[in-house]
């Protein structure tokens, strides 16, 4: 009994002291800070990438819109030069609208283009918050176009056409379609 007790007293065990505890706490704090810094920077990078992509998509649909404006202007000019009466001008433009849409769709493969001719009263009712019927009296009609990208970016345009064949962009609105499923995407990776 005495020998065992003596042996126990001779063994010196390592015990956790104040310094060890301090180092452990500092270590945990540093690790947490490092992980937070990493997750913040990754989230910033992801946000920047998405902002860049978003900007590119907005300009893609805008480019399609500019091309459509160019083609529509050309078609309207053709119609005017061919001597079509002002009363029949809109119907003639309606016939040629498919060519304009095809041309734009072939130039911008990722963009879906939908266009339709609008009578002045339809233009006023569609854009009643922006224009009243009296604002649109100088136009014989118009063309409403929707450009939709694969990622849901939407450009809504309304071109007014007067009886002399002048085309004016009355509405040029870039928006994004709300996608419920996209809400599951994690922006913050922390």
């Amino acid at each position: 009994m005495s020998a065992r007790r003596e042996n126990r007293n001779q063994r010196t065990s390592m015990r956790m002291g104040v310094l060890d505890l301090f180092v452990v706490i500092i270590g945990i704090c540093l690790a947490v800070l490092a992980v937070l810094a990493l997750s913040t920077s990754m989230a910033s990078l992801r946000l920047s990438e998405r902002q860049t992509q978003s900007m590119q998509h907005i300009y893609d649909v805008d480019t399609a819109g500019q091309r459509f404006a160019a083609d529509l202007d050309g078609k309207v000019q053709d119609v005017v030069l061919s001597g079509v009466a002002a009363s029949d001008m809109l119907a003639e433009i309606n016939r040629q609208l498919a060519d304009v849409v095809d041309d734009v769709a072939s130039a911008s493969a990722e963009i879906l283009v939908e266009a339709e001719v609008r009578q002045p009263d339809q233009m006023a009712s569609s854009f009643s918050d922006e224009y009243s019927a009296s604002d649109l009296t100088r136009f014989i009609g118009g063309v409403r176009v929707l450009f939709t990208s694969d990622d849901g970016y939407l450009l809504t345009c309304l071109f007014g056409i007067d009886d002399k064949g002048a085309v004016e962009a009355l509405t040029w609105k870039s928006t994004r379609i709300w996608d419920e499923s996209a809400q599951n995407e994690q922006l913050w990776l922390g």
Partner: protein
């Protein structure tokens, strides 16, 4: 043997030496843990800093590219090939395409940071010929007259082409 004998004259040097060696082992282990911890956390902080810097540069380059694209949209014919904005260089390749009734300008904007491509985008701008076509997005607060493009030079170029 009495417990007080433990600290008696003959045992004291051996025990003291053992305690010292134990303390040294403990201190070395602690030092090793601290070094490993610091190495890992410093690496993490360095990576986080590099990622954050990259994100900041990407965001700045996106803003610069957008500014350049808007500058092009405002005046497609007068867009310089190279622009400089701080440490960033903007290359703008403008080409024009004749359409039935005007000119369609296409621009490919690339933002470089120390020679590395950070961001790129394509923009277009249609400039009509003689007739007054406005393709500028109408400004809601602006009067109706302000919606037309002040393209004094642009239609002239269209007619020249």
């Amino acid at each position: 043997m009495d417990s007080w004998d433990y600290y008696s004259t003959s045992e004291r040097p051996r025990t003291t030496s053992r305690v010292r060696s134990t303390f040294m082992v403990e201190a070395l282990l602690l030092l090793a843990c601290v070094v490993i911890l610091l190495a890992v956390t410093i690496a993490l902080f360095a990576f986080a800093s590099a990622t954050s810097t990259k994100a900041q540069r990407m965001q700045e380059s996106a803003d610069i590219a957008q500014n350049a694209a808007e500058q092009f949209t405002a005046n497609p014919a007068g867009m310089p090939d190279i622009l400089s904005s701080g440490d960033y260089t903007v290359r703008c390749d403008v080409s024009k395409e004749e359409t039935q009734a005007g000119l369609l300008y296409n621009a490919y904007v690339i933002v470089l940071y120390e020679g590395d491509e950070m961001c790129s985008l394509e923009a277009s701008r249609y400039v009509p010929g003689q007739r007054a076509l406005s393709v500028t997005p109408p400004v809601e607060s602006a009067p109706q007259d302000a919606q037309t493009v002040p393209g004094d030079s642009a239609p002239t170029e269209g007619s020249q082409a």
